[in-house]
Assembly symmetry: C2
């Protein structure tokens, strides 16, 4: 997605060979018009996938996911990292390891929000090692859903999440796959 | 906002006199079209307020806030409850007490995302005792911004956040103010 890549080149910062800062338009400050374009792009790419629901992971995936859901005219479900005290019945959980935080967290879904056989598209802001995506997939499949696609706004193609998901048979679309980063240089491409 | 109140009556559940469950369309499963309508309603109500940026609190406010930001053609900033390891410079923080969780958390803002004198509209899913809203206000004002409005999708008008905010001089719009709840009955109104 050229307009997204241009924005990453202009406003993103490669803080190291593996850390990409995009907090001025994607995950702290958010450009809603860019999110709308991202939603339109995901909708176009997954048009033929028979998607029935959008799922995302709390919380940086919510903005692009809700725009995708709006564009595809589908409900969205937020897989929760934080569980409120009133959310305790009918839930399923899975452990996810976060490399960025070097800690494990529980991802939670109220099972009733994924129906048996429902075709789900998982949208997230970043795909790196795939831990969060596989956590989302475990929950959706445990609830009886079918993961019909995974969409990442940005994928760090130099980490192994993209390959692992595809090897496992999942269809993955990355709007801005990053092949390599050096200080002040971001190279796009899937391999 | 009549369509929202109808939805709350149909799909919301008063779990007690103070707990309203709306997780099938607002904060776990999310109806993106309703969020778009919510965004349009906030945009209309704050049309004359000279708003320059939307702020919200991670994470249930993100969906209605990004739709409001899109409708008003403004950037949005997400005040963070979880801080990533790459977010450490130029940040300001404030302690917020959560009655639901009976615990204190730190709300975080990278100061550069609120400009001096910038007129900010704070959007959140719920307004109850106002702790989160006042936390957001402290951060925005500390960064030099002006809180020109607070918009809550649902306000529990029987708790004191709405009154406290207005007494402190803030303009508050609640799309669905709830006056009282009993099992299976939700009564709307501001007092």
């Amino acid at each position: 997605m050229e307009i997204l890549k241009q924005r990453i080149r202009r406003d993103g910062h490669a803080l190291s060979e593996s850390v990409l800062l995009v907090d001025s338009f994607l995950n702290h400050q958010v450009d809603p018009f860019l999110m709308k374009q991202v939603g339109e792009e995901f909708a176009a790419r997954f048009l033929d996938a028979g998607i029935e629901k959008i799922a995302t992971i709390e919380s940086s995936g919510i903005a692009p996911a809700v725009m995708t859901a709006l564009e595809m005219n589908l409900p969205m479900v937020i897989l929760k990292k934080q569980v409120s005290s009133i959310m305790k019945e009918g839930i399923i959980q899975t452990e996810v390891f976060s490399f960025t935080k070097n800690a494990t967290y529980l991802l939670t879904l109220k099972e009733q929000f994924i129906e048996k056989g429902e075709r789900v598209l998982v949208i997230d802001d970043f795909l790196a090692n795939g831990e969060a995506a596989f956590g989302a997939i475990r929950l959706i499949e445990q609830a009886g859903g079918v993961v019909a696609g995974v969409g990442a706004v940005i994928a760090k193609a130099f980490q192994d999440g993209l390959t692992k998901l595809r090897t496992a048979g999942y269809r993955v679309e990355a709007l801005a796959p990053v092949k390599a980063m050096r200080e002040n240089t971001i190279e796009f491409g899937e391999d």
